[in-house]
Amino acid sequence: MREVVASSAVGVGFGFALSRIGFSQWDEVHRMFLFKDLRLTLAFGAAVVLLAAAWPLLRRLSRVPPAWPARPVHPGTLAGGLVFGAGWALSGACPSIALVQLGEGQLAAVYTLAGIFMGNVLYAKVHERWFRWSPGSCMDD
């Protein structure tokens, strides 16, 4: 129950923030990728810098060390990243954004959402059939 309530609180906050930042606007994302508007890129960079400063602090403060999953490079990292980037530029959505768009009333995001689930299932099948590497524990977090 606690997990569900906490997930819900984080989700609503994240969805609201992504909407107000403008990450859910196809045109904003398009301008980011064309380097025509650096606002989203700067926001992302600022967040990474703030997080890099905050993690060690939080780690020292917390009694139980929370999960700190390693994210190693594997054979799917580069190719998968490029494929996702292309999909992001086409649909204007990363996995959380499709849902934010839907909530905002940009109902065409149902197509993106359906596509994300199809792509996820498709990769699972492709991986089982042809690939022999382990994607690591990253799937879990």
Partner: protein
């Protein structure tokens, strides 16, 4: 609706993973929520899940049945549970994904933004892809498939790799995030050139 300034956006994007870490004890990773749901749907769990205490009791009973009570007379040392977070439930993943939509709805409602129906709120999209009615579904489904396929293949997306992994200098996340942007930049310039 005027979007937040870059610095305020940066603070917000940093706060979400931090709060997530404090209240859930794990890294924020949205594509992982999709994967958790997909895997649950593809292979439903067999039988009821056991707690550690139930498992120990069951093993104990089976040992006694096979080798007699003497075999379990001495108490086994109690194993301390690890501090790893409990496995995510499907319910919490569904609730998390639905809450993202709720957050978007809240933002739109407070700003008084009208729904855009079965299209995206965009000027560039129809300019690039044309106005034929089949264009939006086709482009978005194809884009969505690439997003789902690519994030699962790379084991993460903009939140897990981009925010949480890069800020912890994880090698896989640094490479993946460079690839996200390289793929996005390449395709966007291609769209403009066509």
């Amino acid at each position: 609706m005027t979007p937040w300034a870059w610095w305020a956006s940066g603070v917000a994007l940093a706060l979400v993973p931090l709060v997530n870490w404090v209240v859930l004890g794990r890294m924020l990773a949205v594509s992982g929520r999709y994967t958790a749901l997909v895997d649950r749907f593809r292979s439903p769990p067999q039988g009821p899940e056991m707690s550690q205490a139930e498992l120990i009791a069951a093993v104990r009973a089976a040992t006694a049945a096979e080798f007699g009570e003497a075999a379990v007379a001495t108490e086994a040392p109690v194993v301390q549970p690890s501090s790893a977070p409990a496995p995510r439930t499907s319910l919490s993943s569904i609730v998390f994904l639905a809450s993202l939509a709720l957050g978007g709805a809240l933002s739109a409602a407070l700003a008084g933004t009208a729904p855009s129906g079965l299209s995206l709120r965009s000027e560039a999209f129809p300019r690039i892809f044309g106005e034929a009615h089949w264009v939006t579904p086709v482009v978005l489904v194809v884009g969505g498939v690439l997003v789902g396929f690519g994030t699962r293949m790379a084991s993460g997306c903009t939140s897990g790799h981009g925010l949480c992994g890069v800020s912890r200098a994880q090698p896989g996340s640094l490479l993946a995030t460079c690839a996200f942007f390289a793929g996005g930049v390449a395709l966007s310039f291609l769209l403009e050139a066509l």
